[in-house]
Every structure is written in structure tokens, then in C-alpha cells.
Amino acid sequence: MQEKDKCERVLIDGSRLMIESMARAGADAFIGYPITPANLLYAYGSQRMSIMLPAPDEITTLQWMSGLSITGKIPVTATSYPGLALMIESVNMAYMMELPMVIVLVQRLGPATGTATCGAQGDLLALKGMMSGGHPLPVLATSNFEDCWKLSEKAVHIAAKLRTPVVLLTSKEEVMTQKSFDLNLLDNIKQTQLKYFDKDSNYKTYDAEGLVPEFLPVNQNVHQVRFNASTHDQYGILQHSSEDALNNTRRLEKKINEYLDEYTYYDYDQQDGAKNIVVSYGISSAAAIDAVSDLRKQGIKTSLLIPKTLIPVTNVYKKIINKYKKTVIAEENINNQFGQLLFGVERPENIRFVEGLGKMITPEEIIKEVKK
């Protein structure tokens, strides 16, 4: 916590906190194409980031970001599903090339254009399956203003450390609603730096020695660098399916999983003797907090889990959930996407689901399901 004696209350939105945090964390470019409900992030990005480029579409957005990343920048964009859909092939490219960047995904009601001004939590499974080969891409979900601050910093740090695109998952109500907030609650942000290769020895762009190869941009004349989105060996040379190249592809998945413990974030509010647990993330977690507090007032012991790192799927959540007789998962979709991530399509009987479509899930709906 920052050492300030008095409280600094403001009326603020989550978008502002996210962009400021990422800028302080080391992100230096914002590239985007406007889309509701991500427009506030776009506006703040253009005011704050030292480079802001208005791209003519979302494919270009991701390509320009990748180009900037190749020169050593850490770029950020913000979009909603229609934009993400256009970006997907290029996100695969950035993943394969191992380029750090952050994509803020502000969920809205789909399918297709759906309802631009209506929130939703319907994109988690799309993110899970975004990479050809099923490889995981880190996805962090914010659930309050402190997260908008802290997880945005983490997203930039993970992107730089693991050399990968990272998705910050949020939704309309989280980034557009103004709330009273005490700025004193914000921790200092640490600035990250890409780890550059600094030896004289032979440089391999995709050296398999460490899990994450050291980076070199193209704006230096000492070592040749080869970025490649096709299957490639350690040197970045295209291969059909040589052992070295396939090992490289395996490494891409491994590096994301290997460091998962370091970036597994969640809030677990455990009540002794509780037989129920409410699990919720993102926008629905606010209703879950109120529901659990109400249940406790009524004498119904209930614990609360708010997962923040959603992908890769950590086994920590299942371990916690398995301690309870009954679990209620609340998320704003009609197919229990997080539940599917944890348990597959056949949810065990004691895992209940509170759905939402076109409106926020209320605390009452969660309470009702716990009491059933």
C-alpha cells in the first residue's frame, strides 16, 4: 500500500484504472479499432500511451501490435467479441512468434453483433479454444476496481515474462460503470522490462534452453533474429514437422502451464463449517459477494470463491470446490462456461449453476439456488 494518510475518494471507472496501470507496468502502445463497450479504454489509451495508432480494422490492429512487439514494445488493445473474432488468426501468430501484448476483452451480449450495450460473460469457451492445437493463452478476469489495477499490471508482466499475448477478460458493466473509489487502495505498480539476450554467443530466436527464450528486437545489428508463425525450429526456420520444431511447439504450451502457479490469482473467503460454496468471477462476483454475506446473516454457512486466473485451468479451484457438499457457480451465460472448464459437459449433481442472459445475475438468484 502507498503511504498516504488521508483517503482520496473519487468517482472513477475501471477502464481508466486499467489503462493507467498497464502504462505504469510498461505497456507503451495502444492500438485499436472502436467498439462498444471498449471505447473508454480506447479513449484513455490514446491519451496515456506514448504511441496510439488507430487501426482500420481488428486484423490490422493485431498485426500492427505484433510489428511493434517485434521492435521491443509492449502493445495493448481493447475490443469485444466481434473484434476478437477478427483477431484470432493473428493472436495465433503472435503466440507462435512469442510476442508480448495484452488484449482487453470487454464482453457484451452475442452472438454476432448481439447487443453492444448489454453485458455478458459468454466468451470464456471461445478463449479456451482460440488457439489451434488447443494451447492455452493466459486469461485473467477482473472482478472489482482493485483487480482492474492489479491484474492489468500482472497481465503486462506475464506477457513480458512469458513472451505471449495475454487476455484481460472483463465486461461492459465492469469497465463503464462509474463508482466511488478510494485511490489509496491502489498499490504501487512495478514496471516490467523485456529480458533481452545480451551475450556475444550465437543467438537462437527460439532457444529451447530456458522455457522462455530471451528476446531480441529487429532494431539491432548484432544478431540475426527470425520471427516465424509457421512451425519452426529453434532458429526460427520453417520446418514441416522435424523433432526440433515439434519440441518448439510443445514448449509453447509448456511455458504457459509451467509458470501457472506464479500467476494463479483468486479470492477465497472460507467460512468454517460451511457446506456450500458460491463460485463466481467477473461481473457476477459482486452479486456473489452480496449473496454470501446475506446467507451468512441468515445463518447459512457459505464460502465464496472468486477465480481470477481462468486459463490455463488450475486444479486449485477443483480442490477447493471438492471440500464442499454443494457448489453454486454463477456466471452471465446460459451454458455454464466456467463449470464446463472445470468439470466438462457433464456437471456432477452437486454443482449447481445460476445463469444469466441479457441482464446481470442478482444476489437473490444466487441465494435461492444455495437454499434449494
Binding site: V218, N219, N221
Partner: protein, 423 residues
């Protein structure tokens, strides 16, 4: 013809492929211009022309089909060193699927050179027609010849603003054209019309390149725009977004025991969102926690404008509002937009402009003339009245907010005070 930029003279193309000449002459031209291998960033597309990376001693970036011009653009933005050269190798296929990226780079006149390998078909995928296939040229998807004309990519990029555009046949020594293109400050595109022996020659026997180009109405030539190369210029930047939000000191007390939800609604242009922000800040000034969000049609200038607020003496988590505790309506648009919610109210208070019909509701009704200081100030007048009448927050906190946000010059503060009895 060899170059330090190439590590072999045996390139991975079919025998007689036009791509061979392009790779060799372009690399030689770069070397002759004094570029050392690592001064050059080669961005290659997907297609036969793009499998050249492994033969290059330059930096190499091998991306997606059709996106190399955008990827090269991103690199060009990020390079602060003007001595570096970004060169994009792309085919007619890549130029078809990624036309927008080429046009955008030309429009911005970014520092980069696009070498367009126009062999008039998709070589890598089996010789299909592309968007640049000339009229009457036969491909594996139009054996009788393409019934349509292809894009004139040189005309397109020239009109978009490229510093330099050139079309040339891929025959003999054309290194002077490569040299011209590479020396340009800004965006240059060199379209080399060449032929793919495996498909193009087979399907168009005995046709000569110059005849194909001429009969399709395309000209060989160079086109220039004299305009400066792109320079990154950014508007004024903020060093700290948080310093832009005003800190609100707690200067007043409130009278609220339980959280309440408030809907404030009226017509676009009547200051609803501004009034909601003022009410929110005044509530914070009075020690309350607040959430506030707006809803209005996509065309923001017409129809209703609604703000939803929660005020609470404690921390607010869930901020959704189903049936509100208080509704403040200043116009017909606002009434219509919230009618169902008002009908559903079993308790609470409805503050409504006196010009409007009273809807069916279980809420207590309080009528007032919110529009007396003009429609533009209706919402502001209504929140001052609300705070005075309800006593939830001190109405003075509203005027304090207006003053501390330096809005007191713009808003008719005195008129509003005078319009409300007892102020």
C-alpha cells in the same frame, strides 16, 4: 547474381519460377545501396515467394497469408532508426486477401517497400484465380481465361498516396527498379509481373508476359507522389490518468441508513448524465458510496437519457437495479423509457415533472416543475429538488460540487436556487 544478403544461390522455387529473379535482384540491389544484412527486416507472406526466409541473412519475419504489409507496417512504426529497411515480400494472392493493409500503408506513406510478386495466380495452393489475375489469363479455376479484370494495384496505391509505385515485367535486369523502390522515403510498391511455370505457363502456352499485360490494359511504368514520409505524431499526452480525476473530500453528512437505488431519466440534451455525475459526486462529498451508469440510444443525441445510481452508507458490490427505490422523471421520453419499472414499484418515491401524466404505480408521487429554468437544466433542477425534499444529502453539497468542478460559470446556479422554494 549473388548478394551477401543471401546465403545460397539455389533458391527453393520450381525451375524457371519468376520468384527467383526477384529474390536475387532485390537482395543485390539492397546490398548495392549499402545495406548490410542486419539493416534489413524482411517480412514475408505465405505463398511460394514466402519460403525464402531460410536463404536470407537479414532479419526475417514470416507471418500470415496476406498480412505481411500490416506486420511490416507495425515494424516500421516501431523502428526509430531510419537506416533500417523494412521490405515486404508478398504475392498477388496475399495482395488480394490483404489489400486493405497495403492501401493503409500507402495512405500513411509508411517507410517500407512492398515487393509484389504478381504471377497472376495462387501458386502455392494450386494455381487458382486471384484478385490480380488479368482478364483472359487462364488459371486452374478459369481454364477459358479470367472473365474479369484484376485490380490495378499500382493505380490503387498511387491514388492512396504512395511515394513511389512501379510496374515492371520480371524479365532480364530490372535491378534499377528495385534500387528506385528501396531508396524511396515513405511507401513504395514494386509490382513485378512474372509467370509461374507450373501453372501459368502450362495453362497459357505461348503467351508472352508483355502481351498479357498490354492486352489486359495495364501499363508498365512508374508513378510518384511527392509527399513526406510518415512521421509518428501524437497529440498531447497525459502523464497520469488518475491525476485527471478530482479528489472529493468529505465535507457534508448524509441521512441514509440503508442503500437506495435511483433512476434519473429525461430527454437527450437535457443534462441527465451531467446531473447524475453531479449527484454522484455530491453523495461522495457527503460520505456515501456510489455507483452510476448511463443508458441512452446508440444515436446519443435523440430520445431518452437515463442514469442509474446506487447510494449507500456502506460498500456497494452488486450495482444492478431491478425495481428502483426512487425515480426522478423530467420529460416524456424519460417516462416512456421507465414506465414498466415505475408500474412495478410497490413503494418508494416517484418525482415527476408536473407537465406529465401520473403513471400507475405504488410509489408515492411528488410533482414539481423541473423545467422552469429551461429544458437544458431540467435534470439538474430535479436533483437539487430531490436532495432538498428527501434530505438524504444536503443540497448544498450539490452546489459545492458544481463550484469545485468549475461549472458554476456555465450552469445557472442562482436561477435554480430561486426556482426551488425554501432554498
Amino acid at each position: 547474381m549473388s548478394s551477401q544478403l543471401l546465403n545460397t544461390s539455389s533458391l527453393p522455387y520450381c525451375k524457371g519460377c519468376g520468384h527467383d529473379l526477384i529474390a536475387k535482384q532485390s537482395m543485390k540491389a539492397l546490398e548495392d545501396l549499402g545495406f548490410s544484412p542486419l539493416d534489413v527486416i524482411m517480412v514475408t507472406d505465405i505463398g511460394c515467394h514466402g519460403i525464402i526466409d531460410k536463404c536470407l541473412n537479414t532479419h526475417t519475419v514470416h507471418g500470415l497469408h496476406g498480412r505481411s504489409a500490416a506486420l511490416g507496417a507495425g515494424i516500421s512504426y516501431g523502428l526509430e532508426n531510419p537506416d533500417k529497411k523494412v521490405v515486404v515480400f508478398i504475392g498477388d494472392g496475399g495482395a488480394t486477401i490483404g489489400l486493405q493493409h497495403i492501401m493503409e500503408a500507402a495512405r500513411l506513406n509508411l517507410n517500407m517497400t512492398v515487393i509484389l510478386h504478381n504471377n497472376m495466380l495462387y501458386g502455392m495452393t494450386g494455381g487458382q484465380t486471384s484478385g490480380l489475375t488479368p482478364k483472359n489469363f487462364a488459371t486452374t479455376t478459369s481454364y477459358e481465361g479470367n472473365p474479369l479484370s484484376g485490380y490495378d494495384i499500382c493505380a490503387l496505391t498511387h491514388t492512396a498516396g504512395a511515394s513511389y509505385t512501379c510496374r515492371v515485367l520480371g524479365i532480364g535486369d530490372i535491378s534499377d527498379k528495385f534500387s528506385s523502390a528501396f531508396q524511396v522515403k515513405g511507401f513504395s510498391l514494386l509490382e513485378i509481373v512474372e509467370i509461374c511455370p507450373s501453372y501459368g505457363v502450362k495453362l497459357n502456352p505461348r503467351r508472352k508476359l508483355n502481351e498479357i499485360v498490354e492486352s489486359s490494359g495495364r501499363k508498365i511504368g512508374e508513378w510518384e507522389n511527392s509527399r513526406p514520409a510518415y512521421k509518428l505524431s501524437q497529440g498531447k499526452k497525459t502523464k497520469d490518468l488518475l491525476s485527471k480525476v478530482s479528489i472529493i473530500d468529505r465535507e457534508y453528512t448524509h441521512n441514509l441508513k440503508e442503500p437506495i437505488s435511483i433512476i434519473l431519466s429525461g430527454s437527450a440534451g437535457e443534462g441527465v448524465q451531467l446531473a447524475a455525475a453531479i449527484l454522484s459526486k455530491s453523495a461522495i462529498r457527503s460520505g456515501l458510496d456510489v455507483t452510476q451508469k448511463g443508458s441512452y440510444p446508440v444515436t446519443v443525441g435523440v430520445g431518452f437519457s437515463t442514469a442509474e445510481l446506487n447510494l449507500s452508507p456502506g460498500k456497494i458490490n452488486f450495482h444492478g437495479i431491478n425495481i428502483p427505490d426512487v425515480v426522478i422523471i423530467t420529460s416524456e421520453d424519460g417516462l416512456k423509457h421507465n414506465l414498466k419499472r415505475i408500474n412495478n414499484m410497490k413503494k418508494g418515491v416517484l418525482y415527476i415533472d408536473k407537465s406529465l401524466d401520473i403513471p400507475e404505480t405504488g410509489a408515492e408521487i411528488i410533482q414539481y416543475d423541473f423545467r422552469s429554468v429551461g429544458a437544458k437544466n431540467a435534470a439538474l433542477t430535479s436533483i437539487v429538488f430531490f436532495s432538498k425534499k428527501s434530505g438524504i444529502i444536503n443540497y448544498k453539497s450539490i452546489f459545492k460540487t458544481i463550484e469545485s468542478e468549475s461549472m458554476d460559470k456555465k450552469l445557472p446556479v442562482d436561477k435554480i436556487k430561486n426556482s426551488i422554494a425554501g432554498l
